[in-house]
Amino acid sequence: MINFSFDGKTYQAHKGDTLAAALLRNGIGLVGRSFKYHRPRGIMTAGVEEPNALVTIGDGGRSEPNTRATDVFVYEGLVAKSQNRWPNLSFDIGSVFGLAAPALSAGFYYKTFFGSAKRWMFYEYFIRKAAGLGNAPTKTDPDLFSQRAAFCDVLVVGAGPAGLSAALEAAEAGKRVILVEQDNILGASLIRDGQDRDGAWVESTQARIRAAGGRILTRTTASGYWEHDLVTLTQRIAEPGQTPSHGVAQRLWHVRAGQVILATGSIERPMAFAHNDRPGVMLSQAVRTYVRRFGVVPGKRVVIATNNDDAYKTAYALKAAGAEVVAVLDARPAPAGADSGLPVYNNAVPLSTNGARHCLKSVTARVNGLTQSWDADLIAVSGGFTPVVHLHMQAGGTLDWNDAAQAFVPAASRQNVTTIGGAANPEPVFNVVPVSKPKKSFIDFQNDVTLSDVDLAWAEGYRSVEHLKRYTTLGMATDQGKLSNMAALGRLAEKQGVAIPEAGLTTFRPPYTPVTMGLLAGAGAKDAGAHVRRLALYDVHAAKNPIWQPLGYWFRPRAYPVGSETLAQAAMREAKAVRSNVGMTDVSTLAKFEVSGPDAAAFLEIICATTVGKLAVGRGRYTFMLREDGFVFDDGTVWRLDENRYLLTSSTGGADRMATHISYVRQYLCPHLRVSAINVQEHYAGIAVAGPQAKATLSALIGEEPPRHMSTVPAMIAGVPVIILAASYSGERAFEIYVEASHVGPVWAECEAEVSKQGGALYGLEAMEFLRIEKGHLVVGGEVDGRMTPHDLALDKMLNKAGGYVGASGLSRPALSEAGRRQLVGLEAIEGNIPEGAMLITGEGASPHGHVSAAAFRILDGGSIALGQLTDGFARHGEELIATSPTRGQMARVRVVAPHFYDTAGERYRD
């Protein structure tokens, strides 16, 4: 015996019971309340298609809402709770919604939204309280979810007789086979139908598949069929809410199969009649499963309603188990069922059920045009069989209409997939047109959609099945219409006066059954959600407790506060150190490419929009790159290290994009060039030393005269070979020192010692931003925002007049240099501080002429300054504007000036 609890009460289950079987075993028929009307619901099926018996399993982080009681195997200590009821299951206030059912008919939400807002406000509170399923867990799931890839020659989905036979044949033919079964045992219909009662055939087949090297996965659902025969499997290692024995609760498999065999069987259809959602209404095969597999007889006096032969097996199983079959309502005319030895009524279809205290009391049917009733506590219904074609459809396959079975069956597929068994050859049935009152005749049990909702949608002009689905929400619940789609199609076809295949079909999409989010995330959750790139000097920075700034996948120090300094105070102190003495910072993340070979210069003149070829060995220059449409997309510097060897730098944020661009241009556009372009971003770490004392600092470090501005030399620091580039982003005399990242430690240490000897400071990104804004240098992603041309940024004089670079023809479009474009300007405050991101307007109510892309303060003199983009800005220097940021509630009066606030002559970085 296994102990479990339901709504706080403890019960006993047998080994191998599903929760549904265990609840029935304990006489519990009422399991939940319906989504919209809070109608009492019980257990309808014995499989994953269950629409009614949805419960929350488990506690805390392991709790899993909306779990089908038919798809959970009971374990010791299982905790289940019913959903969507208050204060308790048998007395539920929300069921008054059932009384107000007409108010919530098809299209209720749409109509309410089109009505006055007041009306929605009134309804919303009640609807949000009432309509719903279980609650999402609020605690972190403590379990692990793993992912795994696998390959096989043949993947067989479904371990019924057809699937087992196919897997055995393939495995014994020497193929690599994976057989998956969503149940925890193999056999499927064999168990339900008792054809292999002692399990000997299943047992021996399983053993032979394994002996031939086949892999069998139970509790594993093929939930998605993707391109090129990739099938995703979701494997339950622990049951919902259960503590996994080895930490891993579920596993997601990506299986690339040579061939896929679908032996997915079929799902029995309910019939539409009034109050067909009451506890005590079950599908016929489900009743048989409970009797045969679990030894639970869900009713004592049973009515069977059918349109096919299969349901007679249920009647015999019930009789053998001691239940009384009071009537078999067979929709088919005589002589169907004549020699069954059962009380068969031909031309008989159910009309309604009656009940009391959430139990079934009687069944009313129309028999040969007359109404007749039977006292019964269970009705077993079989409305035919819907082949499980989901995976076939997900694979892009088409369907054929099988008229005898009144069902769609798999037809052609563009992938390597075949369907066998019951899914390909469903049992013949007799077509039954519902005659009951449509109002309480449910077709989608989970979303509470009735025949009358379909009728209403039709009356309101919804013709397409896709519209019908969205208007009524039919088939849109977590069961994705496994039971309801065919009933709705039948009703729609009846209204249209066409055959079902002409009424259309909605699309089947993955997953076949719900997949928990944690499984999709796998190990990529929490800190592993995105990868982190660590600076080679990460530990050195971390020891100084900086304020970190994420920059793409990198984290860089934003400032190094001393004592109780705020970010702004620390950054200003650091910036002042650079302006008045010397500072150093880590610039390792800049994109860097080593370009070498006889055609290196020619290649760089394709990548860069500036001239490169005339650069002397040991010299460098500023450069920028264009997109093919002529807009600036990155900038940096290019250095000639040797006759045929160059170093190209560009922005950190654009590094990956630039690496792809360079590779594309080299490999696809210029395969004939004799050049190698290697991404050395992480190969070199970089240290910038800037300030009036930078030259003295560097002299001390390398023991010789440092290179002049825009020159480069190789040197040694701390016994490590380095490349010195004399370039300035800050506006001061400055150097960038590049060194193999694995040897940067001692170089940094020696630089830091020398800088501190000079009385200088470390500086972070925030100070760097202050410095570059004051100097008017661009930042990619700020001023260079993808909408600016070289003309707009006043870079056009640097363009390579010979053309031939990427973007040259795009840039030649006249509109890219016409008047009326936004242009780069400087802004200085006349009154107030300029808010970053502010709009630039001429007066209140005027439309914006541009915006502020970056704002800062003059470092030594104070005063609010900014860079911005302004329509025809070059010609508007001296004009007064308003910079306003309504979202921040900030405003400043500004004057348009040139975008250089400091050392406009550029004298400070020259010796």
Binding site: A149, E227, H228, Y664, Y668, P671, G804, S809, G810, R813
Partner: protein, 87 residues
């Protein structure tokens, strides 16, 4: 998730590749402005086979052209590009 046959590495999962563009969207370096704009903004987008440029980024990093049917995802041809693939 598709499976491509990299000319250098053999059959690999699509997750290892990045998409660049279709071949008809390639802007050659000597393209006239009208021609360049046509490639960038008015592409063919056929319902059927198209030639696409992909890169085996998380593998050998090589570029290739893959002829893919956009309706069925059938891959009818794959060819390597780059200096090594020159005749």
């Amino acid at each position: 998730m598709m499976q491509f046959t990299c000319p250098h590495c053999g059959p690999r999962d699509q997750a290892e590749f990045i998409y660049e563009r279709t071949v008809d969207a390639v802007v050659s370096l000597d393209a006239a402005p009208e021609e360049a704009m046509k490639s960038l903004f008015t592409r063919n987008n056929p319902r059927g086979v198209d030639e696409e440029i992909w890169r085996h980024t998380y593998g050998c990093r090589a570029w290739m052209v893959i002829a893919r049917n956009r309706v069925t995802n059938e891959i009818s041809a794959t060819r390597a590009v780059g200096p090594e693939a020159l005749p």
